[in-house]
Structure formats: structure tokens, C-alpha cells
């Protein structure tokens, strides 16, 4: 604990937007630290701007000219006298140049050192570090050239994965089942990596068939303490991006948890890791695990760990960045109950998950015991194509997996966003899918999911609702009442009691 009541920092600038900026602002305020939001012009109305103590306009919406503009953000920090910057996830969170620039400007970057970020951001170097620390890695080959591509692929063996060395977020990744697919997959992966990261270097890894994607949350401080906060199961993925995460993993055994936890802590120690991080592993069906990558930042899915351990990870990040030792030891930690997170995204599951855009005109938010909503949603907000499609994270906690599942299902049924296409109903389908419910699932789950067949009574209700909504609207447009604007008139003229009241007024 701090010896005095002085806050850990004077002021934290949050170099992010959306739900994660809101999350960080909350944690900072709870610690008595003032906050500064930054925003691009399309985010002027956003929640993070409304919740912060101060806010600075970064200008144009393009990320490169706003949330990724290191100069502008450091300048903003200087102008407001911020002594720390929290990068959230995405944007500058894993950018070693930015972490170094913060250091040079004497502003604390809340995250690991630039050296650690650089070492883990380069996936090829990260694999070498882990191998040296005794952490198992997926068999593979790097230094892939177009000329030697065929030979390298043969050496690794099919099926295999092509991955961008600078990769992340599912970009620059291609699965190759046979030699005939190799060249075009290589070109696509390289092209995508070049566009996304400005670096077209790719490497090959053997494809682990029907793998589980399980990650371990780690934490370290500058006093040599390293712990893990157990696992998160992240196998529900579409296009290599996670949409549902849970902890504990239904696939986990005590023995596997102990050995993966130990490997993760060994990795943290080998890196001299400071702050929150995640070691991602692939686990095959015989429970062999292989190092995948280290995410040197707070993960999107960090709330499931918070729900089962009771630890506020963002609060702990801030404390550790201020130089305090970890507030808990490994022996203090335990998993209590079960938590599942669903990522609410602006996208169309029927159109291959293409991002959707539009205005949020109506919102029905869920609640109830064990329900947590980390959200950037508000009525009147416009969702643009400039940024990630993640709108909110809905997390349910229960004493066991079954209770967490039924709570999440109920919360998803209550959750409505209009007029924006979202994946809420799709997430509900996953939560009802027998494979997911059984807990025996892998990363192929979504590709095997059958199309839904709603009850007859629901189809009827939907048909009636659509007719009545449009029917009422038709009447209003056909016969508008004189002098009433569209905004103030209720086009719904069929509800007798209300009509009676209005008539009497």
C-alpha cells in the first residue's frame, strides 16, 4: 500500500477510445487519479469523452492522424501535465517506439518496457526467446522466401499455417492444406501483412488440428515478482478473431493448468515482464501445449479473469507502473466460479461478418445478478468504419459454468441495438449450440454450427411486430396530422387508450 494518500499518478492520459477507454477512466478515478481523454472528431460524443476530467481533440478520424499519431498524443500529455499514458489495447499499446518516446518524454507508459514489446512483437524473435526459456513452441520455420517457399513448407509438413511476423488480430494469417494452395496463400498473407503492419515478413508453423486456444494471464513487477492468473479459453473464433471467452477452460485439467501456469511464469521471468500480459498457447486434443505469442498489453477479454479472481487488472497495471510491488502473491490467487464474455460487435454474421455502420437510435441494455457490461454504447452515437467493430463486452459470472451460461443467454436476449446490425443474436446461437453447451469444443466450433430454426410462435410474433410497426408508419405518412412534425408525432395511431387520451387533451 502507498504510504501516503497521495495518488499514484497526478493525471493519466488514455490513448484510446471505445469501451476500453471507459474501462481505464473508471479504474483511474477509483484510484483518485484525474483522467484525460483524447478523441477524433467523429468521437466527440463518445462515452470516454463524457466520463473523463479533460478531453483533447486530435482532429481527423483516420487512426494514423489521431489515435495512432504519437506526436499529437505526447504533445497532448505535455499540454495537460499528464504523468502517465494508458494505451488500452490495439492502437499504440504494442508499439515499442511509442513506449520509448514516452520514456524519453518522462511520461510513464503503463505497460511493459519498449525492449519487451519489441522482443515479443517480432513473432520470430519471440519464438526463439520462448524456446530458450524452455517453453514448448509449435514446430515451424522462419526466414521464408518466395524461392525457398516450397522446400520450407515441405520441411514443416502439411497442413500448415502462414503467419505474419509482425502479426496480430487475425491479420496476415492463412491456413494451407496442400501444396497447390501455398503460393496464393503466401501472397495474400504477405499482402495483408504489408498493408496492416508495413512488414511483409511471414513464417510457417505446423497446423495444430482442431486446436484449443488457451491463454494464461501473467503479471510482473519491477521487484522480481511474477505470477499467473490462470487461463482463459478463447476457442470460439471466427476468421481467427475471438468472440466468446471463458474462464476456467472446460478443457482444462489441474495438471495441465499447473504446467501451463508454470510455463507462463517462466516466460514472464525470462522477459523480466512488467505489468499485465498474456501468454497465448495452442493446446491439441491430447493436451500438448505450444507457445503461440505474448500479448504485451491488457487483453480485450481481461474481464473474465477479473470476474473469477476478483482482481482488478487495470488498477493493478496502474499500481505496478507507479513502481509498487504486486498487491498479491501466487498463493493468494484462486479461481472462484465461472465467467463467460461475449463480444458485441457491429457486424453482419449473415454476410461473412462484414463490419456494419450506422446510428444507434435505440438501445435496450441487459442487467441482473452476475452481469457486467463494459460498453461504449449510447443512443445517438454513430458507428463509423474508421475503427474496430467492437461495441461492448457482455460478461456473465456464475457459481459454475451452467449458471454463467444461462445468465449470459438471458442477458443476450434482453440486449437490443437498433438500427445497427450487430452479432447479438448470433452470440445467442453460440450460447445455445449443443457443442458449446457441452464444453467440448475447439476453434472449429463456429464452422460446424447449424443454421437456426426459431419456434413458430416467435416467427408469428416477429411477423406481427413487423406488420404493426410498418402499418402504423404507413398511416402516419399517408395522413399526417396538420402542423405536426415527424419527430414529435407518434405515427402509432392504433393504440386506443393513447388515442383516447390525446383526443381528450
Amino acid at each position: 500500500m502507498a504510504a501516503s494518500n497521495r495518488p499514484l499518478f497526478r493525471k493519466i492520459l488514455v490513448a484510446n477510445r471505445g469501451e476500453i477507454a471507459v474501462r481505464v477512466i473508471r479504474a483511474a478515478h477509483e484510484l483518485g487519479i484525474a483522467t484525460v481523454a483524447v478523441f477524433s472528431e467523429v468521437d466527440r460524443k463518445s462515452l470516454h469523452v463524457r466520463y473523463a476530467d479533460e478531453a483533447i481533440d486530435l482532429g481527423p478520424p483516420e487512426p494514423s492522424r489521431s489515435y495512432l499519431d504519437q506526436g499529437k498524443i505526447l504533445e497532448a500529455a505535455k499540454a495537460v501535465g499528464a504523468d502517465a499514458i494508458h494505451p488500452g489495447y490495439g492502437f499504440l499499446s504494442e508499439n515499442e517506439d511509442f513506449a520509448a518516446a514516452c520514456r524519453a518524454a518522462s511520461v510513464v507508459f503503463i505497460g511493459p518496457s519498449p525492449e519487451v514489446i519489441a522482443g515479443m512483437g517480432d513473432k520470430i524473435r519471440a519464438r526463439a526467446t520462448m524456446k530458450a526459456a524452455g517453453v514448448p513452441i509449435v514446430p515451424g520455420q522462419d526466414g521464408i522466401q518466395r524461392e525457398t517457399l516450397l522446400a520450407s513448407a515441405k520441411a514443416v509438413g502439411y497442413p500448415l499455417m502462414l503467419k505474419a511476423s509482425a502479426g496480430g488480430g487475425g491479420k496476415g494469417i492463412r491456413a494451407v492444406r496442400e501444396e497447390s494452395e501455398l503460393v496464393s496463400a503466401f501472397e495474400r498473407a504477405q499482402g495483408e501483412a504489408m498493408t496492416a503492419f508495413g512488414d511483409g515478413t511471414v513464417y510457417l508453423e505446423r497446423l495444430i488440428e482442431r486446436p484449443h486456444h488457451i491463454e494464461i494471464q501473467i503479471f510482473g513487477d519491477r521487484h522480481g515478482n511474477y505470477v499467473h492468473l490462470f487461463e482463459r479459453e478463447c476457442s470460439v473464433q471466427r476468421r481467427h478473431q475471438k468472440i466468446i471467452e471463458e474462464s476456467p477452460s472446460p478443457f482444462m485439467t489441474e495438471a495441465l493448468r499447473a504446467s501451463m501456469g508454470k510455463a507462463a511464469v517462466d516466460a514472464a521471468r525470462a522477459m523480466k515482464y512488467e505489468g499485465a500480459g498474456t501468454v497465448e498457447f495452442l493446446v491439441d486434443d491430447r493436451r500438448n501445449f505450444y507457445f503461440l505469442e505474448v500479448n504485451t498489453r491488457l487483453q480485450v477479454e481481461h474481464p473474465v479473469t477479473e470476474m473469477v479472481t476478483g482482481i482488478d487488472l487495470v488498477r493493478e497495471q496502474i499500481r505496478v507502473a507507479a513502481g509498487l510491488p504486486l498487491s498479491f502473491r501466487q498463493s493468494d490467487l484462486a479461481q472462484k466460479g465461472h465467467a463467460i464474455e461475449a463480444r458485441i460487435c457491429a457486424e453482419d454474421p449473415d454476410q461473412g461478418f462484414v463490419p456494419s455502420i450506422g446510428f444507434i437510435r435505440d438501445l435496450a441494455l441487459p442487467g441482473g445478478p452476475g452481469i457486467r457490461l463494459d460498453s461504449a454504447l449510447a443512443t445517438g452515437l454513430e458507428v463509423s468504419l474508421y475503427y474496430d467493430s467492437l461495441l461492448a463486452k457482455l460478461i456473465a459470472w456464475g457459481r459454475d459454468r451452467e449458471e454463467a451460461m444461462v445468465r449470459l443467454r438471458q442477458a443476450l436476449a434482453e440486449f437490443k441495438i437498433a438500427d445497427l446490425k450487430s452479432n447479438i443474436a448470433y452470440l445467442g446461437r453460440v450460447l445455445r449450440n449443443s457443442e458449446f453447451v457441452s464444453g467440448v469444443y475447439d476453434t472449429g466450433l463456429l464452422t460446424r454450427m447449424p443454421t437456426p430454426n426459431p419456434d413458430e410462435s416467435l416467427l408469428h410474433a416477429a411477423a406481427v411486430a413487423a406488420v404493426l410497426a410498418h402499418h402504423g408508419h404507413d398511416r402516419a405518412t399517408l395522413a399526417p396530422s396538420a402542423g405536426q412534425s415527424a419527430a414529435t408525432s407518434d405515427p402509432w395511431k392504433l393504440d386506443g387508450r393513447r388515442r383516447g387520451l390525446r383526443g381528450g387533451a
Binding site: 487475425g170 491479420k171 495474400r188 495483408e192 498493408t195 476468421r239 453482419d348 449473415d350 454476410q351 461473412g352 461478418f353 462484414v354 463490419p355 455502420i357 437510435r361 435505440d362 438501445l363 435496450a364 443512443t379 468504419l385 474508421y386 475503427y387 474496430d388 443467454r409 436476449a413 434482453e414 437490443k416 441495438i417 437498433a418 438500427d419 446490425k421 447479438i424 443474436a425 448470433y426 445467442g428 437456426p452 426459431p454 410462435s457 416467435l458 416467427l459 408469428h460 410474433a461 416477429a462 411477423a463 406481427v464 411486430a465 413487423a466 406488420v467 404493426l468 410497426a469 410498418h470 402499418h471 402504423g472 407518434d490 402509432w492 393504440d495 386506443g496 387508450r497 388515442r499 383516447g500
Partner: protein, 168 residues
């Protein structure tokens, strides 16, 4: 008023009877319900009672392309008055609609055109790979048919609403 609601291949006949004393009776494929629907928010959120069954419902989109969300399910449907439907059927033959045009739902860059005029496509088949937000997205066919024309080339930039492919 009588309506026909299409949900995929399924047709549901709805008749709305605006009764006196503010009562509203709805017939769903001939079965009568007492109905009440009131706004529960801005423009899209409603509370619906069918006899005693209660639903919170969001209704989004124009009648011909409506998305209804209730009890965690999302149902895509089209509403047509019986009158309009009959007129359309008389004009265009049995249930035939005009050529479908697949439009871009986002600004982006065409990475690859996967079809050419004359190709037979099935519903859900990828037609074009469009790059937006640094991701490559597959634009898929909304129905089965033959490709009549392709409006874009590899490398071309498109904005929201630009026609990509026409089917016949």
C-alpha cells in the same frame, strides 16, 4: 388490412383489424390474437403483447428488408400488403423479382473479383473480396442466379452503396 410476410421461403398471412374501443385484433394465418404494440424507446424499439405473450421487439429497416429482434433471435423478413403483392405477381409472373444488384455496404478497395458475367452463383457464395479496415472481407451473393454484370475491377476503390455485381 391484409399483409403477407415472407420469412425465407415461408409465408405468413397477417390480417389487422382495427376494432372499436381501441381494441386491435390480428389474425396470423387465420388465428386471432388480441394485440397491443407500444413504443418502448425511440423509433425502433417496441413492446408487443399477443394475447398474454409479451415481447420486447426491435424492428429495423424498410418493409421489404426488415430485421426483427426478439427474445435474442434475429429474424429477417419482408412485409407486403396483399394488394401490392397481388399486383406484383400479376405483373412479373409467379413470384419473380427484378435483377438483384449487390451493393457495397462499406467504403473500401476491391482486392479481387471472384466472378464474371455468365457465372452461376449460389446464395452465400463469395463474389468479391473487399478490403476495409485493414481486413479482407468477402462480399457474398444474397441469392442464387447468374451474374449479369460486374461493375468493379481489382484495385478499384468503392464507397458505401456502389453497385458491385448484378444478378439475373
Amino acid at each position: 388490412m391484409k399483409y403477407v410476410v415472407s420469412i425465407g421461403e415461408r409465408l405468413v398471412n397477417i390480417e389487422v383489424r382495427d376494432q372499436m374501443e381501441g381494441r386491435l385484433v390480428v389474425l396470423v394465418d387465420g388465428q386471432a390474437y388480441d394485440a397491443s404494440m407500444v413504443r418502448a424507446g425511440g423509433q425502433s424499439l417496441w413492446s408487443l403483447l399477443l394475447d398474454r405473450a409479451a415481447y420486447e421487439v426491435s424492428v429495423v429497416g424498410p418493409p421489404e428488408q426488415t430485421s426483427v429482434n426478439l427474445r435474442g433471435r434475429e429474424i429477417a423478413l419482408a412485409v407486403e400488403s396483399e394488394q401490392t403483392r397481388n399486383a406484383r405477381l400479376l405483373e412479373g409472373g409467379a413470384g419473380k423479382r427484378g435483377p438483384a444488384t449487390i451493393k457495397s455496404v462499406m467504403p473500401g478497395r476491391v482486392v479481387k473479383v471472384l466472378v464474371q458475367p455468365g457465372d452461376q452463383v449460389v446464395s452465400g457464395q463469395p463474389l468479391i473480396i473487399l478490403e476495409a479496415m485493414k481486413m479482407e472481407n468477402e462480399i457474398r451473393s444474397s441469392s442464387a442466379g447468374t451474374v449479369a454484370s460486374v461493375f468493379v475491377k481489382d484495385g478499384q476503390t468503392v464507397v458505401n452503396g456502389d453497385p458491385l455485381v448484378a444478378l439475373k
